[in-house]
């Protein structure tokens, strides 16, 4: 029998000096480990300093490839003054004291930047004060650095562990001064994932890799669209394989049929041998034609204005321009298909899942099982790609329902087909644009009417204000270009027939595609260089009210800076002048709501219907880069994700079901198509911007603008189809 070499993990942790305990499998009969509390310093819920000098740090953000555990550790441990070698990082589960475990909206780092440092500064204050007490000196002479408090004059040192017993006795402070940025040891340095070693040796454990005693494996058949009910099933094809038939058990749920077995593979095979009959909730056959009718109907409605300004100068309206820009439904297809392990007992439940919303899962489960939330524990496992898909806990609830029926732990593995055909999608959306131009070719009037379904529940009153869906106009309301007369509106499409959720940037993608394509079209009409045309219209900062947080303020100088920088990187001016037919450069920019500024230039070759993306350059203003290499990784990923969606991704509906099913009919960018990449970061701000979603929206319009430059073909609808 092959044994797992667990010592690998340990020895590598030693080599790197860091360890990550969060992803250990559920230990049989034992809860996931928490650090021993006896005699430790626990100045806040995220931190424990032990007398043996270990520092334990809990994070509430799920790691899904965005290196958030690395970045949060860098921030916290820099402020605390710990040595990363002594630090153990844990993913928080939903047990008290942790709540609101949610990962999304590119908000983990901006949202933690001040509060996390403040907590750690307060903790450092205790350690430094303890040293001052021991040395009988003013506290100002004691500074925590690299896991020790050092006397600034005498040079004496005490390790954190040695200070714990005294520090525990001191009273807490809540506004200790933050460390000056010049003293940072970790913030601003390049680091990989804390568990890279486990990943490259195959030891990192995702939800599918876990098992608990008495567990069964499951697969599942879902209805074609939400709202269907299970009516019946025919197992004659399954019975034709008696050996298989004997091994599996069927579990009927209200809106799905599960197949359960001792092992995973038979459950997966059996699933394809069952013909399930569903009861449709409506007579409407959802298909592409019907969906486009809904879109046209919505665009014919007045819509709700989300920003309007009228200037006294009335244009002559001599020239007008109109166009429509369209983005389709798309799936997320993270490499890890949804999977969850659920153990439902008489009066409690414990779940392990790659969810971006563990606390939400906890309350959904508690409500479904009629339990107190305290009796439901949700462990966030490593996430093998989220992109917004795993904000929804439908797959977690599937596992909980099966486990509840069978009274045994269930590991439910969705297939790729389950994920594409029955999962959640990013909505389609169209922006209808009408422009009046002044005599120099600049817009004097701009009217954009957008239509799309919502990704929010209608009950989410916080995000709906005056009937307007805040999330659906992200990137539209904050259009940064100067136009004297502006009217931006949105019309919601009611679409309960389709499951919808956020998707890396969601509607910022739709509106950035519209606005940045439009700028290119107008520049062309005005016979101006697309870069110069944009720079001309970036005249002042844009400030729009944000429904939830502080106002969105876009600094035009920062947007201009990323545009000019990316142009320099690609020698835009000289190369545009010397451009050959069949080759093209396209530019686009975007400022995301989290104050990250991005500009992209894409270089393409177009021959007939073939598009070859040769190079993509990106200039990105992130304010402060906690982990510059991690920021770059996200920007590289955004380029790949953006090209995938622009070139390939589209979900079709026919006869009331989704047509696509796996990577053969839902392709994503592959390795041989990978362009050369060049990235420049601006890091001279004082606050880190979010990154995960922010480098994505401008990729698609930069591509289609390049296609226009190369071929004269204007693409206004994605994915690109050159006919």
């Amino acid at each position: 029998m092959v044994t797992r070499r667990r010592f690998i993990t340990a020895s590598f942790q030693l080599a790197l000096g860091l360890s990550l305990s969060a992803y250990l499998p559920p230990v049989r009969g034992k809860q996931l480990g928490t650090a021993p509390a006896a005699g430790s310093l626990e100045p806040n819920i995220y931190l424990k300093v032990l007398p043996n000098n270990e520092v334990h740090f809990w994070v509430k953000k799920a790691e899904m490839g965005q290196h958030v555990h690395t970045a949060l550790t860098q921030i916290a441990m820099d402020e605390l003054g710990a040595d990363l070698k002594q630090v153990r990082v844990h993913m928080a589960d939903t047990r008290s004291p942790f709540s609101n475990i949610f990962t999304g909206a590119s908000w983990s780092i901006p949202g933690h930047w001040v509060p996390l440092r403040q907590l750690m500064a307060n903790a450092r204050f205790l350690l430094e004060s303890a040293a001052a007490q021991i040395w009988q000196c003013p506290k100002e002479q004691c500074l925590a650095i690299a896991g020790e408090v050092v006397h600034q004059l005498g040079g004496q040192r005490l390790s954190f562990g040695e200070l714990v017993s005294v520090a525990r006795q001191l009273s807490a402070v809540d506004n200790a001064p933050l460390r000056p940025s010049k003293d940072y040891q970790y913030i601003g340095t390049n680091m990989g994932r804390l568990d890279t070693n486990q990943i490259v040796t195959g030891q990192a454990q995702y939800a599918a890799d876990l098992s608990v005693d008495n567990m069964l494996c499951a697969s599942i058949v879902h209805p074609p669209l939400p709202g269907y009910k299970l009516k019946g099933w025919d197992i004659s094809r399954l019975k034709a394989d008696p050996r298989l038939y004997k091994q599996v058990e069927l579990v009927a749920l209200e809106n799905a049929l599960a197949i359960v077995c001792q092992h995973q593979w038979p459950a997966l095979v059996a699933k394809d041998k069952i013909d399930v009959v569903w009861e449709s909730p409506t007579d409407t056959a959802v298909d592409d034609v019907w969906l486009q009718q809904q879109m046209e109907y919505a665009l014919a409605q007045p819509g709700i204005v989300c920003r309007q300004q009228e200037s006294v100068i009335q244009s002559s309206d001599a020239h007008t321009f109109s166009a429509e820009y369209y983005l389709p439904f798309v799936a997320h297809v993270p490499m890890e298909p949804p999977v969850a392990l659920a153990s439902v007992f008489e009066n409690r439940a414990e779940v392990w899942a790659p969810t971006q919303t563990a606390s939400q899962a906890q309350s959904e489960i508690a409500q479904f099982l009629n339990l107190d939330a305290d009796n439901v524990v949700v462990h966030t496992t490593l996430i093998g790609g989220g992109f917004g898909r795993k904000l929804k806990n439908d797959f977690v609830m599937d596992a909980v329902r099966i486990s509840q029926k069978l009274k045994r732990p269930i590991k439910l593995q969705w297939t790729r087909e389950n994920d594409i055909k029955n999962g959640f999608l990013r909505p389609y959306g169209k922006d209808r644009v009408q422009v009046a131009l002044d005599e120099r070719g600049y817009p004097s009037n701009l009217d954009i009417k957008a239509a799309s379904p919502s990704i929010l529940a209608k009950t989410d009153h916080q995000h709906f204000k005056n009937g307007l869906d805040w999330s659906a106009v992200m990137g539209l309301r904050s259009i940064p270009y100067h136009v004297p007369n502006l009217r931006l509106s949105h019309q919601l499409i009611d679409l309960p027939q389709v499951n919808l959720v956020a998707w890396r940037g969601t509607f910022a993608n739709h509106h950035c595609f519209a606005i940045e394509s439009l700028m290119d079209e107008l520049a062309y009409l005005a016979r101006q260089d697309p870069l110069e045309y944009r720079l001309k219209l970036l005249q002042a900062d844009t400030k729009v009210e944000h429904f939830l947080d502080s106002d969105i303020e876009i600094e035009h100088k920062k947007l201009k800076r990323v545009l000019t920088k990316v142009a320099d990187m690609m020698q835009w001016k000289t190369r545009k002048q010397a451009s050959q037919p069949g080759t093209g450069l396209g530019i686009a920019c975007h400022c995301y709501d989290t104050h990250a500024y991005a500009a992209h230039i894409v270089e393409v070759e177009v021959a007939g219907q073939n598009i070859k993306v040769k190079k993509v350059a990106c200039a990105f203003d992130v304010g402060v880069a906690i982990n510059p290499d991690g920021v770059r990784a996200q920007l590289e990923g955004s380029i790949v994700f953006g090209l995938s969606s622009a070139l390939y991704n589209e979900i079709h509906f026919e006869n009331g079901a989704i047509r696509e099913s796996n990577f053969h009919d839902h392709p994503v960018l592959r390795h041989h198509e990978m362009p050369e990449i060049d990235i420049h970061l601006f890091t001279d701000g004082d606050t880190p911007a979010g990154v995960g979603e922010c480098g994505l929206p401008s990729v698609s319009p930069a591509l289609t603008n390049a296609i226009f430059d190369a071929s004269g073909i204007r693409v206004r609808s994605l994915p690109v189809k050159l006919v």
Binding site: R193, T196, A204, M335, E336, T415, V668
Partner: protein, 154 residues
């Protein structure tokens, strides 16, 4: 009964076992580094080596590899000291990490037939392995760095 070898250990199997290798290694042998991504041979997440060739374990029945030698990511090196694993660390390749064992096994197979592939060869060889997080350029760089250091060591 028949035997296959997994990471140098003999394993007894049923000689007409139609179960894909993926589930044998993941479930019976608890070698969970090999991942399930598509189940159709389309994504490469399940890549392992059968006698030095990269094979998609999700569509390879156990019965088709009787008597052969299989290497999974866990068996690539004793403690992660394979040059590719070290290069992956150095280039900080993984994002979510889910595709990476498959990527490394495909790269290992490439280097077994061609110790010094150029960039274009690397890219076309690796094209069966999807990375949805978009780590492709780092993968190319990491493999290339292994090739380069092999060349300089000569």
């Amino acid at each position: 009964m028949a035997t296959i070898t997994v990471n140098n250990q003999p394993i007894e199997v049923d000689d007409n076992d139609q179960t894909p290798l993926l589930w044998l290694v993941r479930e019976k042998l608890q070698l969970t580094g090999t991942k399930f991504g598509c189940g159709q041979g389309l994504c490469g997440a399940c890549t392992l080596l059968v006698n030095d060739s990269a094979v998609r374990a999700c569509i390879t029945p156990v019965s088709s590899v009787l008597g052969q030698s299989i290497t999974t990511i866990e068996g690539l090196s004793e403690q992660g000291e394979h040059p590719l694993q070290k290069a992956w660390l150095e280039h900080r390749v993984p994002q979510c990490g889910y595709c990476q064992s498959g990527q490394i096994m495909s790269a290992a197979a490439l280097l077994k037939v061609d110790a010094h592939p150029n960039r274009e060869t690397i890219k076309s060889h690796m094209t069966g392995n999807i990375c949805r997080c978009g780590t492709y350029s780092r993968i190319t760089d990491a493999i290339e760095s292994v090739v380069q250091s092999d060349l300089t060591e000569r």
